[in-house]
């Protein structure tokens, strides 16, 4: 079963530059959440703060009863074993081949015999479709393969929380669709808490239980998928529809008068947001009760 992450009043700045302030949200245990936001709003910084790689100025992050912003370095390493993180470029160890990369956490943290390590590694490699590429070095494969290998490595220790840093950046639409399906399947299989940081709206509409939006140095909104997809908040609507008209400008912010004018131009009746059907676990996967309820609801909604 996944673990709940409770973030309260979190503020992070580099020098005088505030990245975001007063972010409060709860990532429910076992659910998929997506954190959206225009480029440069500190989504990756948020992710790194969650795993304790960066220290926030204020606020708390409670995971499994511990506030990780106040943990000592040694205890932090223990808590991190709950996490699996997929970094933007996979962050594979360049000097090891894919097999050794994926086996690395097992060899470091467990005393499993090599035969068992092999079984687990091959199982995870099969899960992400990398069978046959064991001997390849990270420098010899494509970005998409590196991402999938990074995901396999994040999965080997059976984490309770999995964080994805832009899993879809630099991938073609077909691979993104496969990856989204993989994420949903994984959630149904291992029941961990997922947080995906992205700016891909299509994924955000299909995949998560919850959506959050970071903009202008704060968390604009965080809540269930339906709430955000049907929200009237201008920033949320602009971002989820990928429009130019709205508060988000090329250089992050626009002046208020221009925003008013643009918002008035939009024909709101035509833009009634349609609910995108949710992505469900594949047919070969036995659905846990949570996913059965979701599937039920989707059937009623889109009947």
């Amino acid at each position: 079963m996944g673990v709940e992450i409770c973030v309260e009043g979190l503020t992070k700045s580099f020098g005088h530059q505030v990245i975001w302030q007063d972010v409060s949200l709860t990532l429910p245990a076992g659910e998929i959440s997506v954190m959206l936001g225009p480029s440069g709003t500190g989504k990756s910084v948020f992710l790194k703060t969650l795993v304790g790689l960066l220290k926030p100025e204020r606020g708390s992050i409670r995971i499994a009863g511990q506030d990780i912003t106040r943990l000592r370095e040694h205890d932090l390493y223990e808590v991190r074993k709950l996490f699996g993180v997929l970094f933007q470029d996979g962050a594979l160890f360049g000097s090891m081949n894919l097999y050794d990369n994926i086996a690395f956490p097992l060899r470091e943290h467990t005393r499993k015999p090599e035969s068992e390590v092999r079984k687990i590694v091959l199982e995870k490699m099969d899960m992400v479709g990398l069978i046959g590429a064991e001997e390849k070095l990270p420098g010899e494969i494509s970005g998409g393969m590196r991402k999938r290998a990074g995901l396999a490595r994040a999965l080997v220790l059976d984490p309770e929380i999995i964080l994805f840093d832009e899993p879809d950046s630099g991938l073609d639409p077909v691979r993104v669709a496969y990856l989204n399906q993989l994420i949903v399947d994984l959630n149904a299989q291992i029941d961990a808490t997922f947080l995906i940081v992205t700016h891909d709206i299509a994924s955000a509409r299909q995949v998560p239980d919850n959506i959050g939006l970071l903009f202008r140095r704060e968390l604009v909104m965080f809540g269930p998928r339906e709430k955000l997809l049907t929200s009237d908040e201008p920033v949320v609507r602009q971002f989820l529809n990928g429009r130019m008209q709205g508060p988000i400008g090329m250089a992050e912010e626009k002046d208020a008068a221009q925003v008013e004018q643009e918002l008035a131009q939009i024909d709101d009746s035509a833009a009634a947001p349609a609910m995108t059907p949710r992505l469900l676990p594949g047919s070969g996967i036995t659905r846990p009760p949570r996913w059965q309820t979701i599937a039920e609801r989707e059937r009623e909604l889109h009947a």
């Binding site: 790194k48 223990e78 993180v85 594979l92």
Partner: protein, 256 residues
């Protein structure tokens, strides 16, 4: 790196903090034997040849200087003693330090820096592995061991070089040269030199690791880190050398 005094202070502070972390992590099990052997082998392989090649002319220069000096003073019988003393006490730890820092330290710094900017270090920390324990400690120990061994190599090659230049090229007397070896130098000189090499090895590996692990800003950042690590290591090594030599003269009674 900012040039403000506060920035410099902060960097020195974090450098010492990391040195303390290394000392504190030293006894933690499991010890990374594999990484240690790999690194020791690697550092040895990049330093042995240049060290030997540098120490021959180094020994020769000392022999030449001392040869002409002792002739002017009429103390030819002491030329062997003086050149052994110079090579053993000062030249060999310094040559070792320069090569450990210049060849070994730069390689460590570039390696860790490249891993840092590719987020490999972050990934390692997220996987619950302390890079100090996994990467830095084996490198520091490897660098210390190799420095001690290199110091022995430099001493032998340097003294041999000195002998060759004094006896063959300056027509010194072989017997007198060899006989005077122990008239000034003593065994504690060798121990002191080895101790210096041990400390120099530790300093250069710690500075290189610190600079590598704090590299930022892409490939250029790694280049800057390597550059700064060499400069900082050299400065620290020469200061440390001075202090250790001064302490040595106070602690160990001299011959003659």
């Amino acid at each position: 790196m900012s040039l403000s005094p506060i920035g410099a202070l902060r960097h020195s502070g974090s450098l010492f903090a990391m040195a303390l972390d290394v000392v504190r992590t030293l006894p933690r099990r499991p010890f990374q034997v594999r990484e240690f052997i790999q690194q020791a082998w690697f550092i040895a392989s990049v330093t042995i040849l240049p060290t030997a090649l540098v120490s021959i002319p180094f020994g020769a220069v000392i022999a030449l200087q001392i040869g002409s000096l002792t002739r002017q003073l009429g103390a030819q019988s002491f030329s062997g003693a003086a050149s052994v003393l110079a090579v053993l006490r000062e030249a060999s730890p310094i040559v070792t330090a320069l090569l450990i820092a210049g060849a070994g330290g730069t390689a460590i710094c570039a390696d860790l820096g490249a891993r840092k900017i590719r987020e490999e270090i972050d990934a390692m920390q997220v996987l619950g592995i302390d890079p100090i324990h996994r990467l830095v400690v084996p490198r520091v120990l490897a660098s210390m061991v190799v420095a001690v061994l290199l110091n022995g190599l430099v001493s032998v090659v340097g003294v041999a070089g000195g002998y060759f230049f004094n006896v063959v090229l300056q027509n010194g007397t072989p017997g007198a040269y060899l006989a005077s070896f122990t008239s000034l130098a003593q065994l504690s000189d060798l121990w002191a030199a080895e101790l210096k090499a041990l400390v120099f090895g530790a300093i250069s590996a710690i500075v290189a690791s610190y600079k590598g692990l704090t590299a930022k800003g892409g490939p250029k950042g790694v280049g800057d880190a390597v550059n700064q690590s060499v400069v900082i290591t050299f400065m620290l090594l020469f200061v440390t050398n001075f202090v250790m030599t001064a302490v040595y003269f106070q602690v160990v009674p001299q011959k003659g």
